[in-house]
């Protein structure tokens, strides 16, 4: 960990800094997804909606309102978190597949709304397909550290949740929601809480990455592929585990980097195969399978 903090001061290439920063951000995003979907088992296919909202809030605040960066991203997180409430309330009552589809619909609707809003209402606010250009940001090292902080925050919260009563309730919902409800757990409230926390950090991350990218359009920040990456990274690492997102995001980002350059077409095919193999042979993901192995060995030894 300390090593990671020192890296930018060494002479490693700007590219490596950027790569590590990207890994941090993916760990952060995957971690957010894990907080809601990993713990409760409600597969959220619309996570990118909050990411996009956060991106736009920061973009507008910084480019039109000249609001400083840190304040902007905090506001982005808050706005996303608040929007999660009216969206989560109805959708978290749905079961399994329906929740997934509803959240997907939410994210896609958001994309369309941001694309059409200006035209329909007749203003020049979100800029629709033209996108928004943010002020030019500092060098990659800056984003490296921000990414690091966000990642630590998200993973830290995931860990804290796991050991808290809140986390216990979440897992109870995953295992047997009905039973949890009967034993007095206000399941909706618990689910909403997790959903809003996840949305807050996704919004915040969206704001940071918007500043990093310097230019955003609805197509870029509401891309369903972003959600899908979060899902696959979680799966690979181990859904519902604390370190799962770390392992999954790092592994997949690195594979992507290694393969993508020389095998542009086959990279995706290989990821597809990895996903299939992991699902069939290691459904608990890397961390999940390892932990179970360790646990069972401990039990056998006892």
């Amino acid at each position: 960990m300390i090593g990671l903090l020192i890296v930018p001061f060494t002479r490693v290439s700007g590219y490596l800094i950027r790569l590590l920063a990207m890994i941090f951000f993916w760990i952060g995003k995957t971690g957010c997804w894990n907080i809601i979907s990993g713990y409760t088992g409600y597969i959220d296919f619309g996570a990118v909606g909050y990411y996009g909202i956060g991106s736009y809030v920061t973009a507008i605040l910084m480019s039109k309102g000249h609001v400083p960066f840190l304040l902007s991203i905090l506001i982005s997180g808050v706005v996303s978190g608040l929007i999660a409430l009216p969206i989560g309330l109805p959708t978290l009552r749905l079961k399994g597949a329906y929740f997934g589809i509803a959240t997907l619909a939410f994210a896609e609707a958001m994309k369309q709304i941001f694309l059409e809003f200006d035209k329909t209402v007749g203003v020049n606010f979100f800029e629709g397909p033209h996108g928004i250009t943010l002020p030019i940001g500092p060098k990659n090292e800056f984003f490296y550290y921000i990414g690091f902080v966000v990642m630590v925050a998200v993973i830290g919260i995931t860990y804290w949740i796991r050991r808290s009563k809140f986390g216990y309730a979440l897992r109870a919902i995953h295992e047997a929601e009905h039973a949890a409800e009967l034993s007095g757990v206000d399941t909706l409230r618990v689910k909403i809480k997790a959903y809003m926390i996840s949305a807050f950090f996704l919004g915040l991350t969206g704001g940071v990455e918007a500043y990093w990218l310097t230019y955003i359009t609805p197509h870029m920040v509401f891309d369903v592929l972003i959600t899908i990456q979060m899902v696959v990274m979680s799966l690979l690492g181990g859904i519902g585990t604390v370190l799962g997102p770390v392992v999954g995001a790092s592994f997949l980002t690195i594979i992507y980097e290694v393969l993508h350059r020389d095998f542009p077409y086959t990279y995706a095919i290989i990821v597809g195969f990895i996903v299939v193999v992991v699902v069939l042979l290691m459904p608990k993901g890397i961390v999940g399978t390892l932990t179970t192995k360790v646990k069972s060995e401990k039990i056998l030894q006892a």
């Binding site: 035209k119 397909p129 996108g131 542009p264």
Partner: protein, 408 residues
């Protein structure tokens, strides 16, 4: 322990860089992040083919000539999957990790927007021949160059042609997909329509992901415009023609900002592609020439020999961009490995350049756009693209009005 690891890492990096530098000395290494898959995969591959054409051509002569010696060129392409953020990342990788001498731009305003921002940061001249959105030129960048003019100007020929058509179209409808280039093309249509006295009775941008065009075009058909102006890339152009036929809609003329010049358009649509007009910035019959590629017509023929298809104007523009860079390098006497000061001088030289090429004049304005490049208009006639406007450059008269589907 940590200190030892650290030392090893530094040492190995030094070795890698040193050997990289040693190897790089004899040739120019040029990198390009380009969409090879995804929405613009097809178009991105055209750009790749164009740069490869130029590289193979110059290498067949031994390489770029600098101070009497020849240095071959080595191209590296990285696929950005039509995702702008990826283009930024890969452009940075090419510059900082692979330490290429120079970069060239890929296809499309989105990718180029992102990649050129990175290039500007690292003071790498970035020439593109495949992106024209006005916003690209509004950023105050010094290192961004484009052999294409601005999107809103590119479509000028599409509208000005009404001056030579009779009976002159009086009304027009403008539709286009909602992404950067095409929405700007639509604004260009609007501007020139006003200048030509055409009344615009409908203006609509639709999502690039729209599956079915019939219902939207129905609205256009009902308003009965004389001319239909479409902001498009290849896929949108193909879908529009198919839909127009299905709902039996034939305005007097239909023109696309991009698409018909890609050979797939005519190949896939066959007879249905006839009469279609398209914006272009180049046609083989134009009186341009340069020492490397010969005349425009020769470029056209050589390209056909190499790839089995005629070049699209974007391919011509891209190859011309690479050529412009080559000439500037030769003039300044820059040899590989290229240092930062060299690239700054290269940037200044490119701004001063006023070069005749097989593609036409390349003269970059202060904002990077090619100032001296008049747009032309081509039309599909008997399965071939012919230059129909402006009159002094035309090789055929425009077919007008468009024959209704049922009469063909």
């Amino acid at each position: 322990m940590r200190k030892i690891c650290f030392g090893v890492v530094i040492a190995s990096l030094v070795v890698v860089f040193a050997s990289g530098i040693a190897l790089a000395q004899q040739k120019f290494r040029i990198g390009c992040a380009d969409p090879l898959t995804g929405t613009f995969g097809r178009d991105g591959n055209l750009v790749k083919d164009a740069y490869t054409f130029w590289a193979d051509l110059i290498n067949s002569k031994g390489g770029i000539e600098v101070k009497g010696k020849r240095y071959p060129v080595e191209l590296t392409f990285i696929d950005d999957k039509s995702i702008a953020a990826e283009n930024a990342k890969f452009t940075e990788k090419l510059i900082t990790e692979d330490k290429v001498d120079l970069v060239l731009g890929g296809f499309g305003s989105d990718s180029v927007f992102a990649g050129s921002a990175v290039a500007e940061k690292y003071k790498h001249p970035f020439i593109s021949g495949a992106a024209s959105s006005n916003k690209l030129f509004d950023r105050g960048f010094k290192y961004y160059f484009s052999t294409l003019g601005k999107a809103t100007e590119e479509v000028r020929g599409c509208v000005d042609i009404v001056q030579v058509l009779s009976p002159k179209p009086k009304t027009g409808a403008i539709i286009g997909s909602d992404i950067l280039f095409t929405s700007l093309a639509c604004e260009g249509y609007k501007k020139y329509a006003a200048q030509n006295g055409i009344e615009i009775i409908l203006f609509e941008l639709f999502p690039i992901t729209l599956q079915d065009y019939n219902s939207m075009l129905l609205k256009v058909k009902q308003k009965n415009p004389d001319a239909l102006f479409v902001g498009s890339h290849l896929m949108v152009a193909m879908k529009t023609i198919k839909a127009m036929k299905e709902i039996d809609f034939t305005p007097k003329m239909v023109t696309f900002s991009y698409g018909p010049t890609v050979p797939d358009f005519v190949k896939n649509l066959g007879k249905d592609a006839e009469y279609v007009l398209a914006a272009s910035e180049w046609a083989p019959n134009l009186p341009y020439r340069d020492p490397l590629s010969g005349t425009a017509r020769q470029f056209n023929e050589d390209y056909f020999k190499k790839y089995g298809r005629n070049p699209d104007y974007v391919e011509a523009a891209s190859a011309a961009g690479a050529y412009a860079m080559q000439i500037a390098i030769g003039k300044l006497g820059i040899t590989p490995p290229v240092k930062e000061e060299d690239r700054v001088r290269l940037m200044e030289e490119l701004h001063k350049q006023n070069l005749m090429t097989f593609y036409g004049v390349v003269k970059f304005g202060a904002d990077g756009a090619n100032e001296a490049h008049p747009p032309v208009l081509v039309q599909v006639q008997d399965g071939k693209l012919v230059n129909v406007f402006p009159k002094d450059a035309a090789e055929a008269t425009p077919w007008y009005p468009m024959k209704p589907w049922k009469e063909r």
